[in-house]
Symmetry: none
Subunit: 250 residues, 2 copies
């Protein structure tokens, strides 16, 4: 099947409030061959009974719940957030869905990818964004930018399935440059971020009361490095040693 590659795609619904949307998102996943659903703090546990999940009961049963975005994406090598916003000064690179599809396919050979969708009312927060390598938006009308959650999931997965199918991959057996690179997982990056933050606190870089801001700043920075797995290990080792030294001195 042309869609088998989407096995490594993980759909993450962050704080979804409407069980119907959860069910409909699950149904769209079944339609397009995506099987990993994760929920971060879903509003109602009732999601498993979502009536609209026609033909997606099994997928819903195997859905996993997490308390935080960090935990939900820990084993993913690429984390992509979805947003309706496009003119606000976003701190992250922003791609349209069309471009995003290509970028995501390049990385799918390399490991698990998380695609984050925010809650119905407010979408993803800046805090959620800080876990993302980059963001995607679905090109919609300027005066009606905000899509229904489950429809946004369907459109994104359609585009990913669609752009997976053309001969692009079949034409040559040639591996794209990116496919041979092992990226660090979100969990690896998070360890680096924690260690860096600790060093920054000990060194006085983090001013009192700026902890949350600095955490986002550090996370954004490290994710933008787009670390390879091997580099992440080296860098973490360095940061740990520096952190250890700073602790000794205090």
């Amino acid at each position: 099947l042309p869609f088998s590659k989407l096995d490594d795609l993980v759909v993450v619904l962050v704080r979804p409030r409407n069980p119907l949307n959860i069910g409909a998102a699950a149904r769209a996943m079944s339609n397009f061959g995506v099987s990993h659903l994760r929920l971060v703090n879903p509003y109602a546990i009732a999601f498993r009974e979502a009536r609209s999940a026609v033909g997606a009961q099994e997928l819903l049963k195997s859905a996993e719940e997490f308390g935080t975005v960090a935990e939900a994406v820990a084993d993913c090598k690429l984390v992509v957030g979805t947003t309706a916003v496009r003119n606000r000064a976003l701190q992250h690179p922003l791609r349209s869905l069309n471009q995003a599809g290509k970028a995501i396919h390049k990385q799918l050979q390399a490991g698990r990818i998380a695609l984050l969708f925010g809650s119905e009312k407010i979408g993803l927060t800046n805090d959620d964004f800080s876990y993302c390598h980059w963001l995607l938006h679905i090109p919609t009308q300027e005066n009606h930018i905000s899509m229904n959650l489950a429809q946004a999931v369907a459109v994104c997965l359609y585009e990913l399935a669609r752009s997976a199918t053309p001969k692009v991959n079949a034409t040559t057996g040639r591996k794209s440059k990116d496919s041979s690179i092992e990226r660090a997982t979100a969990g690896d990056n998070e360890q680096i971020i924690r260690t860096l933050l600790e060093a920054l606190r000990k060194s006085g870089y983090v001013k009192p009361g700026t902890d949350a801001v600095m955490e986002k700043k550090a996370r954004r920075l490290i994710l933008r490095f787009n670390l390879e797995e091997i580099d992440a290990k080296v860098f973490l080792g360095m940061m740990r040693q520096i952190g250890w030294k700073l602790r000794q001195e205090n």
Copy 2:
């Protein structure tokens, strides 16, 4: 706007049973710049109050009701039906959504086009099909072919809007992602490398006699980060503060 062409597209919901789906279909139409909604024998007149029609109230108010498919498509020059079925002996030409998008665009200059969606349970009937010039299907998994009505509308309109846009990007001459990114200079990187090395020495990461090896290791690492100019500045600031602290302590 790139979507203005879709003004001549008419979405026809045939015997929809769920007001939520009608509302959600209307919302997707708003998202993608399609304004003509027609309903053939909707199950409940309550559709105008459909709660899920966020931002699509006006569109719903102007929706037209018809008793038959024939009346609903009377002023259209092309009538396209949607179906999940693909292996049954259909009497009509069948195109995948991707192909259909191109064909529909070719005709949009020539006049109004109707896109028919059937009821949630059974879709379009053979009788409905008889009004169609040809049929389209959304490529879905063999074992989960049937999509939610409103999601199918969203996906179809996304594809039509998407395939209407391509030239726009080419003509704006917008810069590709990479060309608009300012990378850090070698000089910027070198400052980071120096600062990092100093911190590594102070912290004991650099063992005696391994200075040259470690310097190469650090440089390779930092250059592989392929830092953007803006990130390099932030990172250098962090490393300098950490380095300053380590000097204080010694």
